[in-house]
Symmetry: C3
Subunit: 320 residues, 3 copies
């Protein structure tokens, strides 16, 4: 592997970057979730603001565009009183031929405190964390197919909120697993937190073969995959990444793997339905389910702000 | 009609959204203008900032691009100490096929406090107001040809500032009435405030036939329309919306309906000239008029910030 | 000349705009550098924030796109506690045909306090300074080939920091002089500060003929130009401005004028190497030099934030 030592933790085992859930100790994950719980109430107050990052400069570096995710980090940082700088990276010096590491060195020299990085290349946030100045903290906001750790953490927050105990659960992750950094982050988090049965469910073309090694059960049949599940995590079908080769049609996908009330009836009666959003109604999820009683898709969004506030405030408080 | 009950007011008759001037009681309009007056002085202070929206998250949702209008709302919100989030909505999830209401539900779940919405579809801000969470307030920043209520209110502020009493005025609105949400909002405001004579002036192709029902006088002759007016509101000729079918040429339009010093001489000697901007010099207005003594175009801009601060602070203070 | 009286200074000789280093008295330059020194420590604090521009509205008006430079001004303004408005000017009213001066008059009417202007036309910031309201201050962030005064000032800060005394130095500016507003600003600053020998070094096609009148020595041979220099300022080769006519090839340019360790050995042993960034590795500068011990390219970036904070706070404190 490229990264021997876990670059996310300092020598005291404290979180200084959030790059991946892989390798995060269970105690660190629970510390993040506990901290997020305190921020949930901040977000419900009249004045949704705490001074924890006052005078800090947080840079949103979205090499891959995502207005939604960028906005969640921007809100989280502003509610911590940070100054937020959004870099339109596609139009900036990188486009003029400057290397990624030169860009990072330059921004570090401006006394940046935190980089929130989304990049289409897996590993880019690691590269940045390894080369930026010691006072700078890095949060991975999604890199290639590799990881999306804040999504994984907010999913864990949601599951803990509704199900309390991880050690008795059956969790099914359904859909386009092969392209999904969310799936990868969720699997690492769920196994670290002691979930006894994690299933990945999808057509053979969309479920990678090496997942059994990660300790998950692979199901190519939706009924088998969802039966008696406590939690069903539907993934977004990345239409924009499909070229027709992997998938016969959206209609056929929905027939086999789309979550309808009928299929959901196979899960436990109190199963919750999650989705990282934005949802494709009628493609991977039926509107009756997305808007139904078991859906916790909007609470996920709410928890996501609190989780990002927790991650930012924790790493900013620890020294490299 | 689509909207039976007035969704802008709560059961106490207090403003909770600003969607249209149509249906706003005269007392509410005057309350907004009175509040704006107090904010005018804030904008002239050394420290142009009051803490009324501190810790609130205001989202600028411009589905139709308008840097100018977006900026006026952004300044207004920042001077009220709000956190402002600009969503580049054209590049966001909506572009990925997410529905408008799903986008709104998601942003609401982030504990948004206010949406400032511009949309090319008439009625979009109503739809949003009807479906968003009860803690969220909506300001219409222009929807299709329907309404542009903050522009209407800042126009009323300007008229009240310079003319004091609405009940003795003759107001002429000149130009491309048919495409103008500004005209529609101004007409509702002027009639509500008791202006006895409102005239709409323009070629037959640019003045809709149903305006007489709104209690205004339709003039297709500029001299007739402007004679003895106290207030002349020139509209922007939306070049980008014209396809040649409705209008012979910009030159011909200027000859017939462009405001020149000669034509302005037909109005009262102390008539004021207004324009929502940006102006097309030599198309709908002569430079000698735009920069002349009777022009109050730049004061309109100044008043506009105070009016937007007033609207935002009033609706944020009322509960659904 | 177009500008008889120096529009940057008020009648007391105090700085009210920063448009160009040409015409700035030595005392004003040193005052800016001294003030910047106090801000350097602010940027190293836990809470990187001072309330000097609290409640002021700073508008970034980048008619020519530059994410990097815009970001440096945005950070500087936010660390001074200003409200910052970024105008996507390419998509705004100017694109709708509004004149530059109408745009400026409108933004002034919103009670703007400061415009940071980048424009492809030389002189645009002067035009703006001459026409905006008296309470508005203008900072030139680069206009055409004319001037880039904050870059010039941060270069002077860097030289003063490392070399203390300007009056014994030999400074070589190397590369594409003809297209470089940085070179022009540096030359004015260096001669004002009493540097006895300023050399401009580059091929005949890239060094304008009229530079000798500015009191500099023109060298078309790199070895001659760099010999015994205390400071070597490399310029970015503006690939995007080249059409092949002026330059045989990037490879040939590097061979003749690229800064390699071998060429740098001709300068004084303690010479410093500067570059305005972003660097083109292997085009105008060798990686071994850019990353070497004599390079002060990243300190330049750090000093740049402090210098911009100094400029903004000084001009905001002086009245027209």
């Amino acid at each position: 592997m490229l990264y021997k030592r876990n670059p996310q933790l300092n020598k005291h085992g404290e979180l200084i970057h959030l790059l991946s859930i892989e390798g995060l100790p269970r105690s660190v994950i629970h510390h993040i979730l506990d901290t997020a719980e305190t921020f949930l109430s901040v977000n419900e107050r009249e004045v949704k603001k705490v001074p924890l990052l006052r005078g800090k400069s947080v840079f949103n570096l979205f090499f891959e565009n995502s207005t939604r995710t960028r906005t969640t980090f921007e809100i989280a940082a502003k509610r911590l009183s940070a100054d937020v700088l959004n870099l339109d990276i596609a139009r900036s010096s990188t486009a003029k031929g400057e290397s990624l590491l030169d860009t990072i060195a330059n921004l570090s020299a401006m006394h940046a405190d935190m980089f929130v990085v989304r990049h289409s290349e897996s590993g880019a946030p690691y590269l940045i964390a390894q080369h930026c100045a010691p006072h700078v903290h890095v949060v991975n906001a999604g890199d290639g197919r590799h990881a999306h750790p804040t999504q994984g953490l907010l999913d864990m927050y949601t599951i803990r909120h509704f199900k309390k105990d991880f050690t008795r659960l059956t969790v099914a992750i359904v859909g386009d697993i092969v392209h999904s950094r969310v799936a990868r982050s969720d699997i690492h988090a769920l196994t670290t937190l002691g979930v006894p049965e994690v299933r990945v469910v999808g057509p053979k073309t969309l479920v990678p073969g090496d997942l059994k090694e990660m300790g998950v059960r692979v199901c190519h049949d939706m009924k088998e995959g969802i039966r008696d599940a406590d939690v069903v995590i539907m993934l977004r079908l990345q239409n924009e990444r499909m070229n027709g080769a992997l998938l016969p049609s959206a209609g056929e996908f929905f027939k086999n793997f789309g979550l309808t009330p009928e299929k959901l009836a196979l899960a436990k009666p109190d199963a919750i339905v999650m989705h990282p959003g934005p949802i494709n109604r009628g493609v991977e999820i039926d509107s009756a389910v997305a808007d139904g009683k078991q859906s916790v898709i909007l609470p996920q969004v709410t928890f996501g702000i609190a989780v990002r506030m927790a991650v930012m405030s924790i790493i900013a408080g620890n020294e490299a």
